[in-house]
Amino acid sequence: MNIYVLMKRTFDTEEKISISGGRINEDGAEFIINPYDEYAIEEAIQVRDAEGGEVTVVSVGSEEAEKQLRTALAMGADKAVLINIEDDIEDGDQFTTAKILAEYLKDKEADLIIGGNVAIDGGSGQVGPRVADQLGIPYVTTITKLEINGETVTVTRDVEGDSEVIETSLPVLVTAQQGLNEPRYPSLPGIMKAKKKPLDELELDDLDLEEDDVEAKTKTIEIYLPPKKEAGKVLQGDLSDQIKELVNLLHTEAKVI
């Protein structure tokens, strides 16, 4: 089985967020594998271990993503590919990323492509379905279970809390939802082995793409932090008075009831 994982290096959103020069301040921030992509990597490894084959983890980004790709290799992926767009593209969007990935994947004869259902930084969740559409293969998003039986693939999809059992066939692209598995931590031997595993680096030229081909269709014109919320009012006094006061406040001050 020829398995590809789409991985994004993301800002750890548990970090404090600040803005400088109109952008999110990344100085000293922690960067991680997008948590949903960790599920994707884990699932890919499990499928490979059961079915045989190879797992290649692909990331579109800058040289800095090498660290997260090495982590994926240490978890057990076989190969990693960094498509480094740092010098070519200043502000890409989901159209950009999907087009690059699709261009890379088009002749790879992937049986299974797995990504996270959304990245926790940008939060768009577009890249997976876009890539599948461009490759002409079916997709299922937000999956919590994956079973492969020959060419038949049965997945459980999370749909706003309900679940759907969906049957499809290889090749297919799926995106991972929390609950799909428990991603492993890289082991020490895994980390040692990862150093020797191939990590290829490509640029747009290698994919026969021009900057114009992948130029973003949307643009961010401003990034800002939500207005600081004033400390709320913790009610005081006798509990029954607090209850009366709260209902009154919700009714007359906040006017939500």
Partner: protein, 325 residues
């Protein structure tokens, strides 16, 4: 610049979801005076078209087929692309729902267009249509514009107001035949776990329980309060992990994102992952025994106390208010 904008109506259990009307509200802004056409896809859904007109759509185009009873990306994209080929819109607005999130990127790919996902507002500013959307799990916002191609966005439910319903409005509801074939994903079974009644992601009032609820039964007082306020019950991941309730109720970074008018957090400490799912609610009330709980930092009003004491009293007080008003 006036443009023609298509919206996608969403049907659940035989009725239009509220987000269908919100997409029309957003489309009216995006159309800048142009025509707003709502699309309804399914089987036996044409009768719902009139309501979309009452909420402001100028026309409704219905695509019906037995293969469209359930949503599949292939079926719906074939139906929608047939409409798009005929209508040639300059804008598209869907809800940022399970369906919209799944379908919109595929349509954007087919149209080779951009897509602004999960917008919480849209306005005309300085000659541009500006969409605002939360990023970094709701800890920051960005304003985005389309620089090339059509204006395409999905909107987060409960954020963009629908227009007032006008029952005197009328408009054309037409049917379009689409050739639906080769569905590559087949739904074998649907397991309903989400609570009956009020849809959590569209609820105006959400009563959420955390670890402090202590047991499955501990959710009962919350359910009662929700029913008095016509709201929905949600939960923190902690409560789901402890098996007090189903994961379908989970609110947070990995669960649902909700923005009700009123969010009452009961026995929820306020972990950052939970805040990502609810911090943009209009009014937040926190009930927690621990005065140091993080949830009080985002709450508008707080009561330090035992939820099992506070919630029933609150239910009683709201009941009185409802009787008097």
């Amino acid at each position: 610049m006036a443009r023609k904008v298509l919206t996608l109506g969403e049907v659940r259990d035989g009725a239009l979801r509220n987000v269908s009307f919100e997409t029309i509200g957003a489309a009216k802004i995006a159309a800048e005076g142009g025509e707003v056409v709502s699309v309804l896809i399914g089987n036996d859904v044409k009768s719902l078209g009139a309501e979309l007109i009452q909420y402001g759509a100028d026309r409704v185009v219905v695509v019906e087929d037995e293969k469209l009873v359930q949503y599949t990306p292939d079926g719906y994209s074939q139906a929608l692309m047939t409409v798009i080929d005929g209508e040639k819109p300059e804008g598209l607005i869907f809800g940022h729902t399970a369906l919209g999130k799944d379908l919109a990127p595929k349509i954007a790919s087919k149209l080779q267009s951009g897509l602004i996902s999960d917008a919480t507002s849209v306005e005309e500013a300085g000659g541009n249509l500006v969409f605002t959307r939360p990023i970094y799990s709701g800890k920051a916002f960005e304003k985005k514009i389309v620089t090339d191609g059509l204006v395409f966005a999905t909107i987060r439910p409960n954020n963009i107001a629908p227009l007032a319903k006008d029952e005197s409005r009328s408009g054309e509801v037409s049917s379009l035949q689409a050739d639906i074939k080769d569905l590559r994903t087949v739904i074998k079974e649907v397991v309903r776990k989400a609570s009956e009644g009020v849809d959590l992601s569209e609820a105006k009032v959400v009563i959420a329980g955390g670890r402090g609820v202590k047991s499955e039964d501990g959710f009962e007082p919350l359910k009662e309060l929700a029913s008095v306020l016509g709201g929905a019950v949600g939960a923190s991941r902690g409560a789901c992990d402890a098996e007090y309730c189903d994961y379908s109720l989970q609110i947070g970074q990995t669960g649902k994102v909700v923005t009700p008018d009123l969010y009452i957090a009961c026995g929820i400490s306020g972990a950052i992952q939970h805040l990502a799912g609810m911090s943009n609610s209009k009014v937040i009330v926190a009930i927690n025994k621990d005065p140091e709980a993080n949830i009080f930092k985002v709450a508008d009003y707080g009561i330090v106390g035992d939820l099992f004491e506070v919630v029933p009293m609150l239910t009683e007080e709201f009941r009185k208010l409802k009787v008097h008003s």
